[in-house]
Amino acid sequence: MSLATVHPPEPVSANSRSVPILQSEAEALAVARHLATEFASEAAQRDRTRQLPHSELDRFSGSGLWAVSVPKQYGGLEASIVTITEIFKVISAADSSIGQIPHNHFCVVDAIRLDGTETQKEFYFGQVLAGHRFGNAFSEAGTKNVQDFQTQIRPEGSHFLVNGRKFYSTGALFADSIPVGALDEEKHGQLVIVPKGTPGLSVVDDWSGFGQRTTASGSVTLENVRVQPEWIIPAYRGFDRPTFTGPLSQIIHSAIDAGIAQAAIEETIRFVRERSRPWIDSKVERAADDPLTISQIGDLQLRLHAAQAVLERAARILDAGRETPDDKEVAFAAVAVAEAKILTTEIAILATNKLFELAGTQSTLEKHGLDRLWRNARTHTLHDPVRWKYHAIGNFYLNDVLPPRHPWN
């Protein structure tokens, strides 16, 4: 099997882009902040009209930011998880739908790093450095884990055929290729990187959640999709041994929620300062001088900072992880990320509710579009139930029980 033979059915659009290689984490963050300013300005309008951020994504992946996790030996920046979570926070504070779209892309890059062949790494990392965007097609309706997948990959001659239907395929619509989770005859979960345009592959934007409306987290169907052997990453191996795959996926989710929380608090401050009227009983001239408002802003800020600090702690733990961690190390990291996920969930929900309480009725007028922050936080924090994270953490610290490793998660 040689990757030299890989020829996607049609040239991926990425090839036509000129993508810079970011030279440092500081540069990556600066680029992210710059893009965030651009993305923020029309986020409310895109949400209102459910207008997908096509040009924004071109600028985003075209900036080199989607390639920052490519290992150094393949010419990438190999950015730390601390920096990667920071990038997701910054972008998500501006537009959390745009922030969520590359989530799976980063997970796929990690899967290739862990289980790709040397040839696959060279090929795909090269693609990523050139601006290639991975989507995803993992989740299926009604299945609880990868072993239940209905999507199958079966050999046919020198090739393989993939059939199945996937939901919640965030990013698929914008992707140059779509990594599909499929079971082979031995019930192994394979990751099949199907280039866009491959016959039989179709992507539909039927995402209908009230939040994260412009993620295009729709459906992917695969009807007798003919795939080449070299597109197949044996990702199941990554779940047969302890890896940081699960925690990486989760920490990115947590960073997105942290971004939403930060945006909500910033909007609260802006509104209270610039627009809210003081309450009659407060006897102050400016709404921002209301002592009860001030102390609640204090509470929000410290919860935000606590969530950010615990998120950074989790990122540092992942960064400090060894190349081949043992069960206990992965469990420790998974628990640290679960802690971050709890705190970012809580502050995202709290801040997007308090925004209106402190800013007042005017802030609910649809022209401000501020309810999108709550809708985004409420939707995105439901990826997996936060209540069981408390349990996993308690079980680890009280009973020395390691949390289960979730594939694809």
């Binding site: 009230f210 009983d281 408002t293 209106f356 009725t361 649809e366 309810d371 409420r378 939707t379």
Partner: protein, 408 residues
């Protein structure tokens, strides 16, 4: 009389507003009021989500509501009204609001204004207005303004001209005005005293605009009322600020109805959650999950706590009506503030947890479950809950009576 697709900007001479009241039934007592409310709620809940999604104002539904006689609940017995307890008024509001919280809120100002009439009206004004209300008339409101320093500041003016009054100004948050037969306007006179001038939507110079654009309580039509040199006869003018200079039940009754709306939203959210979980396959794993079940238990406890505080407040307001003085008013204002804080909290908690337990599927836009959060979030902002705690604490710690205004 219903209008399936209302354009977003309509003048007041549209259905509902300018019609003469249809005859309304007479409610005999508290028990009948509750029974009627339940009956009506069963009807109103059917298309509540649809009305919200389409932002379709509930003209026919409001007509049905007031025709039931339920808008006359607080008319005193000596004027032929049922004068049900305030506890019942609150429960009726909660029942209707559980079905459709916009409809539940619409008569809030109607009851508020009836209290102003009771407090400040002349015997003749009472006679006339109570009679109209018993016959099915609906009062709206044109009270708050935007752009003034606080909600307690008004730019709308009223002045005497020959044998009548002239009112001019621009109001917002005019909940109920689009559905009203009579619109009480708060305006400042030459001496800077606040008066209440009651106009009709089809009076010359009155324009009620459907420009309410909050994401919550979308079908309340809480938009603008514009008054351009509107002429008002003296018998339709009464004092307003006076209702807060002396002890009256205006503030507590206005507020307890608001609290009841929030309680209704909380009940709706908790019931929707239950129905959702019990009707979906994925729900099975949630109903068997001890952590989820415990969270549901917490919702129930907080709901019942809010209900109990609201009922307690109702009894205290009833007591205030029987014996209106500074100290009973203070106690009632504080009790209602406690209920309002509790209903605010459970309305927000339940409409957020609805999704925590419902999971990602519950966010599907077609289900429109987020309307409960939008309604709770928008409606609980009428006056800031943080200052309720202040009023309560100041009363119990320092024996300070709450400030007297419409929001306490």
């Amino acid at each position: 009389m219903s209008s399936p697709a209302i354009p977003s900007q309509i003048a007041s001479d549209q259905p509902g507003a300018s019609c003469a009241p249809s005859p309304a039934g007479r409610v005999q007592d508290d028990q009948e009021a509750l029974a009627l409310a339940h009956e009506l709620a069963a009807h109103l809940c059917l298309e509540a989500s649809l009305r919200d999604a389409r932002r379709q104002l509930p003209f026919a539904e409001i007509e049905k509501y007031s025709a039931s006689g339920l808008w006359a609940l607080t008319v005193p017995k000596e004027y032929g009204g049922p004068a049900v307890s305030i506890t019942t008024l609150a429960e009726v509001t909660a029942i209707i609001s559980e079905a459709d919280s916009s409809i539940g809120q619409i008569p809030q100002n109607h009851y508020y204004m009836l209290e102003v009439v009771r407090a400040n009206g002349t015997a003749e004004q009472k006679q006339q207005i109570y009679e109209l209300v018993l016959s099915g008339a609906r009062l709206g409101n044109a009270l708050s303004e935007v752009g003034t320093k606080t909600v307690g500041h008004y730019n709308t003016r009223i002045f005497r001209q020959a044998d009548h009054f002239i009112v001019s100004g621009r109001k917002y948050y005019s909940t109920g005005a689009l559905f009203a037969h009579y619109i009480p306007i708060v305006a400042r006179d030459e001496t800077d005293d606040l008066l209440l001038a009651i106009v009709r939507p089809d009076d010359s110079g009155v324009q009620v605009i459907d420009d309410w654009e909050s994401f919550g309580q979308r079908t309340t039509g809480s938009g603008s009322t514009v008054l351009d040199n509107v002429s008002v006869q003296p018998e339709w003018v009464l004092p307003y600020e006076q209702a807060f200079r002396v002890p009256t039940a205006v503030g507590p009754i206005g507020q307890i109805v608001h609290a009841a709306v929030d309680l209704g939203i909380a009940r709706a959210a908790i019931n929707e959650l239950r129905n959702f979980l019990r009707s979906t396959r994925r729900g099975d794993s949630v109903t068997a999950d001890p952590l989820a079940v415990s969270i549901y238990g917490d919702l129930v406890v907080q709901l019942h706590a809010a209900e109990a505080l609201l009922e307690r407040a109702g009894h205290i307001v009833d007591f205030l009506l029987a014996d209106t003085c500074e100290s009973t008013l203070a106690l009632a204002s504080v009790a209602v503030a406690e209920a309002k804080a509790a209903t605010t909290q459970i309305a927000l908690f339940s409409t957020n947890q609805l999704f925590e337990l419902g999971g990602l599927d519950s966010t599907t836009e077609a289900l429109n479950l987020n309307r409960h959060w939008r309604n709770a979030r928008a409606h609980t902002l009428h006056d800031p809950v943080r200052w309720k705690y202040m009023a309560v604490g100041n009363y119990y710690l320092n024996e300070v009576y709450p400030p007297r205004h419409g929001a306490l």
